[in-house]
Symmetry: C2
Subunit: 394 residues, 2 copies
């Protein structure tokens, strides 16, 4: 799919490894209304600090993104490198450098080498194409196994508006306000306030609900750019129905990309939805779901296809959620395994084990305390997670 | 070592598997002054609930402990089983059932089978011996690879007092107020208030500072029994110097057992001390150390012998600790790797990698904010952790 007025490209710049796409560019013909959310980690990479500053204008026209080096914990030199690579790109595109954002992902603590950028950026600009997003999605991969793209269209007062998003995972994933890298472009005409609201609400229900390993990155960034090329009626607080339509389309993209990140979590073989229902309030439900979704014991049991509900209850018990163990119910998809805190027996366990053999399933825990519920999306914890992360820098 | 007036024994009761010690008994000739701490998990196993109730008397004469079944999440039937096994033991010993504590470790959610107990308890009582603690330490093992025993002696006003402790790990370990199972016996004469204070202070600095996988068990229990058989001057708040001597001996045992638990953590190949210094207060230092000690990315890097300080900084950044990334210093044992938030280069990294090749080492992070510090003890995260926990119930 193409999005009016947007183009993208990727090149093999050799930033860390050779022979793979590692530098990408997104470009909008005109400055795009842009909203973003960023990591809440106190240690923020240089590109995050720069992006937070530059997003003050609410506008962005180009995003330069590299893998192989996170440009995090690199001090003043790292910030200089971020500004310099943005400047290089702006010069080549002939636009204001303040309209260029940079994003980085990869190893923390190494200075960003400038040479690959000076060599590659001219080629990158020359290669810009409205079909370039697939290569871009490849260029931002680190330990990801598959590129992640999602698209949507929505009719705004009879005018077709398109959205296209790309994202990367796949370790150091438990976004607390944002996720790893995600870029969405749209030709929608929308004002900054409406876009900002749609982004923040969407992220809260998608990227903030996933976990691979409970670790929050220094480089998490979601940027959504809307350039108005579709020429629809302006979406704003004054057109709540259209704003809702746009939000729904954006939510769909966020959710699809978030689930793709979990499914491609480092070493993951299972995509598991942890649903906590019957809680006193949504916050408690979410906190409980998050604790279960991050438990190494629960996640290794999923890898072993073991319906080990005891570990799930134990994780629930160390969360800050209010409940009485004697009222808890648990099911794996539709198979009830625990009722009133008591195991229902071998036959039910055999049926639950069959559920676990699937690639994707849902574990529902009902606390019997109230009507609130929340979901988290997680993956299993496999040998390959350990292998990938014991070997990552070598 | 023997402790006056105490005996122990273990038998192969066949509770879950045959051919291994899985049921043990500790006995004191006279009722012992006893203090304990228990899991803070909201889901507490039946033996925990029973122990908390029975410890109200401050006295205990016998502890029956089994592995293979945690008697957790077993409802009313589980509590009945705990009371029944205690009653069985009391009858065989000819003592008041309220002076018997039971403890369980193993799989959660299975009803405790009574038959192995009715068969084995008479033999267990017959086998009681002052040399029986080594077998007892074996009987409480689950995925532990080695039994864990520590001993100490201390002179109280010229009288030799002995302490002997046993403990088991090795998964679901991040005690928040207590640990897995730990039993310490002493022939000290000490009043309950002084013992209680020594236990709580000691646990806070030992078992509450270790983590294997960040999961808190439903069965954590530390019991310390002192029967007065050494006939020393009574240790109490009125003899602060003697209380300090006893506390120091107990702290040593707690610390030794806690480190043995980490070193024998599921799949562990490294014993790592995470020391956060230069913090504003001890609470922040501990919180930061705990976040780092639990990070799956940090722990897999330790397994890979990769001095991946970026992951440590990233984990620090998602903790609730106050710091400025530009002031952080980090060293591996004596090798400085990061100063003022900046990596010191390849040569230092090579030296740090040599430190990581050792079985045990310390990572020190200095925040440059104040004078407070705290330590956590953790292990690495290996293939075997995943293997053990994917296969545990099969």
């Amino acid at each position: 799919m193409q999005v009016k007025g947007f183009s993208a490209a990727a090149v093999q710049a050799g930033i860390r490894h050779t022979g793979r796409y590692d530098l990408g560019l997104i470009f909008s013909k005109t400055p795009a209304v842009t909203a973003g959310v960023f990591t809440t980690n106190k240690v923020k990479a240089a590109p995050i600090l720069l992006a937070m500053e530059r997003l003050g204008s609410g506008l962005c026209q180009a995003v330069l993104v590299n893998s192989g080096n996170a440009n995090a914990c690199t001090g003043r030199a790292g910030m200089d490198a971020a500004v310099a690579t943005a400047g290089l790109t702006a010069k080549e595109l002939g636009i204001d450098p303040h309209l260029v954002q940079v994003a980085s992902t990869g190893v923390i603590g190494q200075q960003l080498p400038m040479k690959p950028f000076t060599r590659a950026v001219p080629q990158l600009v020359a290669d810009l194409s409205s079909d370039g997003f697939e290569q871009l999605a490849e260029a931002i991969m680190t330990t990801d196994l598959v590129p992640k793209i999602a698209t949507a269209t929505v009719l705004i007062d009879g005018v077709m508006v398109s959205l296209l998003g790309v994202a990367k995972g796949s370790g150091m994933i438990m976004p607390d306000m944002a996720t790893m890298l995600c870029f969405v472009v749209s030709d929608a005409r929308i004002d900054q306030a409406a876009l900002d609201q749609a982004v923040k609400a969407g992220v809260a229900q998608s990227f903030n609900r996933i976990t691979v390993d409970g670790d929050t990155s220094t480089n998490d960034m979601v940027l959504v750019m809307a350039n108005g090329a579709a020429d629809n009626t302006l979406i704003s607080a004054g057109t709540p129905e259209n704003a809702a339509l746009f939000s729904a389309a954006l939510d769909g993209i966020f959710r699809e990309l978030a689930l793709k990140i979990v499914a491609d979590g480092e070493g993951a073989t299972k995509l598991v939805t942890i649903r906590v229902a019957g809680a006193r309030n949504e916050q408690e439900a979410l906190q409980a779901a998050r604790t279960i979704a991050n438990s190494a014991l629960v996640k290794t049991a999923f890898f072993g296809e073991d319906a080990n509900w005891g570990r799930i209850i134990a994780a629930l018990g160390r969360s800050d959620c209010t409940f009485d163990p004697r009222n808890v119910a648990m099911r794996f998809d539709d198979v009830m395994l625990v009722e009133n805190g008591i195991f229902l027996g071998e036959e039910q366990e055999a049926a639950a084990t069959d559920v676990l053999k699937q690639h994707a399933f849902t574990v529902t825990i009902d606390l019997g305390e109230g009507d609130a519920e929340a979901e988290m999306y997680t993956c299993d914890f496999s040998y390959d997670y350990v292998k990938i992360n014991a070997d990552y820098r070598s």
